[in-house]
Every structure is written in C-alpha cells, then in structure tokens.
C-alpha cells in the first residue's frame, strides 16, 4: 500500500496478513487458469499498488481493412468481459427503442464512400481523447481522464445527467436505464449512471496488457499498447502505417487511431 493514512495501524502489523496474501496469490493463479489458450501475461499479473502516472498513455490502432462485414467478435467479447450480456431487454419494451438505448461499449459502424461505393466497417468505442469533451461538460467531475490516458466515469459521483453523452462526438457513452440484477465484480453497475469503454481497466490494473476486444479479434485488427513507448507494438504500427483520428478537426488527440478509413 503506497499510501499510509495518518495515525493508522500499518497493514503489515495485522495478524491475518498471511491469509490475505495467500488469498490474493491463489486468486491470481485462478485467473491464469480460467482460460487456457489465451495469453494472460502471468509473469506481470500482480495487482497495481502504485498510482497510475502519465509515463504510460494507453492507446489503440485499428486496421479497418481487416474488419469483415458482419463480424461482431470484438463487440461480443466486450459485452462478455464487462457484463453487458447480463443486462437484458425489460419486459414489454419496444425492441427498436431497446436497441437504441441498450448499453454498448463498442458499436460497429459501416461507412460508405458515395462516390466510389467503397464500404468500410469499423468498431467505434470511446476514443480516450487527450482533451475529452465529456470531462469538460461533467458537472460533478465524475467523467475524468486518468493519468495513463484512460477516460472513465466514476459512477460514485455520476448523477446521470447525460451531458457527456451529448458532448461526445463519437456516441461512445451509454446510460443504464433499468435496474441490473447480475452485478459483475469487474464492472459494477446500477441504474442511473453513464458508462463507456475503459480499455478493460481491471485487466490493466491487474497486470495484464491486453483488452478483451483485442484478444477476440480473429484478424488481429486491433493493436493495443503504450503510445508513449516508441518500442511498443502499437507505436511501431502507428509509425509504419498511415492512420487517422476520427473527427481530427476537433483536435481532441484521440487515443484510438484508425487505418484504412
């Protein structure tokens, strides 16, 4: 624990420290064995105990030329990882309304060039801007940008006003309209808060370096990593291929870049 509160007993003085350590270690082992065949970077899989810094800026490159029409793998993996599958249509709701209002962290977008007829499919999620409009408009400070570049919602302070949903140029945020029965431990959620992609922050904080969508992509179209490290895979790829920011005119310096758009 990096922060010791004044006048409090040190955690190391506690008699059941061994048991807690044991539980943590066995939990880490359990994570590693949950999904065989998936590389989990177990060597670094320890929970974070230092505050995040701006030495790292997490970012993503998406090669849309590899995105097949109708492919939904990244969306499904995201829904599974972040518990969005546990959230079903309320009884008696209108299906089209539900489809518009259901929480989506990744949307699949189809763009057509009307002059040439060329169609591009791309996954659209929170772009993790350096200057996020959602943060600018948030009246409570719930919408914030973490030091390592991840734009998140602190649901503890979110009042559900949805200004951020209006401000986001990428339509990346969702609102939870109904009570949620199943509460996933990785992404706790309840009625009345806004949420969006957080680059699988629970994975990053626990020492992994991949996101669920990246792991699920059959074409390896999504490359995730540290934009500040010139040797990272994502930095190398961004240096090698031409990429664009969506709505670059807004000068938000997005953390997600697309090639082939």
């Amino acid at each position: 624990m990096s922060r010791q509160r004044k006048g409090e007993v040190s955690k190391q003085d506690q008699p059941d420290q061994n048991r807690r350590d044991f539980l943590k270690k066995s939990a880490a082992t359990a994570v590693a064995t949950v999904a065989p065949g998936v590389v989990l970077h177990t060597a670094q899989a320890t929970p974070r105990n230092e505050p995040v810094t701006d030495k790292v800026r997490w970012g993503m490159m998406i090669d849309t030329s590899k995105c097949a029409d109708g492919c939904n793998e990244c969306v499904e993996a995201c829904n599974e990882e972040n518990g969005l599958t546990a959230y079903s249509m309320p009884e008696g709701a209108d299906e089209s309304t539900w489809d518009q209002q259901r929480p989506k962290w990744i949307r699949t977008v189809k763009v057509q060039d009307n002059l040439t007829g060329h169609v591009t499919n791309l996954p659209m999620m929170c772009q993790h801007c350096e200057h996020p409009p959602c943060q600018d408009v948030c009246p409570t400070g719930a919408s914030f940008r973490r030091a390592d570049g991840i734009v998140m919602v602190d649901r503890h302070t979110c009042i559900g006003c949805r200004y951020c949903m209006m401000a986001c140029p990428y339509k990346a945020r969702s609102f939870i309209h109904e009570n949620v029965d199943i509460k996933p431990s990785l992404a706790p959620r309840g009625k009345g808060c806004v949420e969006s992609c957080n680059f699988c922050v629970h994975r990053l904080d626990n020492g992994q370096t991949t996101t669920a969508c990246q792991d699920a992509c059959p074409e390896k179209a999504i490359i995730f990593g540290d934009l500040n490290d010139p040797n990272s895979e994502v930095s190398q790829a961004l240096a090698s291929y031409p990429t664009v920011q969506i709505r670059a005119d807004l000068k938000l310096n997005t953390g997600v870049r697309y090639s082939g758009v």
Binding site: M1, S2, R3, R5, E8, V9, K11, Q14, P15, D16, R19, R20, L23, K24, A30, P47, R48, N49, E50, P51, V52, F144, R146, A147, D148, M152, D154, R155, H156, V180, K183, P184, S185, P188, R189, G190, K191, C193, V201, L204, D205, N206
Partner: protein
Amino acid sequence: MSYRIKLKGLALVVLAMVMSIASVSQAGPNWRETTNSKAAESARSGGQCVRETQWMRNNHMVLLKKDRDFTVHEGIRTVDGSLSECVACHSNTENGKHVPVNAMEGPDGKQFCASCHAFTGVKLNCFQCHAAVPTE
C-alpha cells in the same frame, strides 16, 4: 440564560455519548462467535479485520470511501478497504450458498451489513451496483 444554553449543550453531548454506546452494544449479535463467515472463523482463532474491530465499527466508511477513490482514480487495486474483500470475508453461507451481506434474513437473522445499518437507519447504497455475495 447562557447557563441554560450550556446546560442544554451538555445534555446533548451526554445524549450523543449514550446513543453511540447504545448503537454499538445493540448493533446485533456478536459476529465473532455465531456465524460461519470467514471473518467469524478468523475471529474465533484470534484474527481480526484490516483494522481493530472498534475502529472498523466507527470508521469503515472512511476507509471504503478513500480506497474507492484510490482504486477508481489512481488504479490502485491493493487497498485495505476493498468492498469485494469485505463481502468475501463477511458473507455467511446457508445450504451451500452465500447469503447477501445486506440481507435482512439469513443465518442468525440480519446479515453483517444489515445488522447495524437497519438499527441505525443509515441507508446502504453500495449494493445497488456492487455484488453483495462473493464473486469470482
């Protein structure tokens, strides 16, 4: 006049002290002895929570709130006041299933969180979003 105000103030202080003692002593059964949660097991063999029991009774909300901000804003996951660890340790099992920590009924009546919060009338907001039973 000022003497009366002082007397009133003193009476209020005494009342507050009596109430705080009463709330702790009437806060429910002694969880150290009677339940099958991991916390009770640990307490029977001389273990204790992440702080002293009395400190936790008075200040657990401070710990939870601070560590909540450490986790959400700074990404620190190895905090003492991790709600999921509270739940993992303090939930009882009945017929092989975990009972929610905020349930009003279960083994030995009101469950861990409910036993005090029902008595003091302090509304508990954690479990609108967070799981009240241990999750893997």
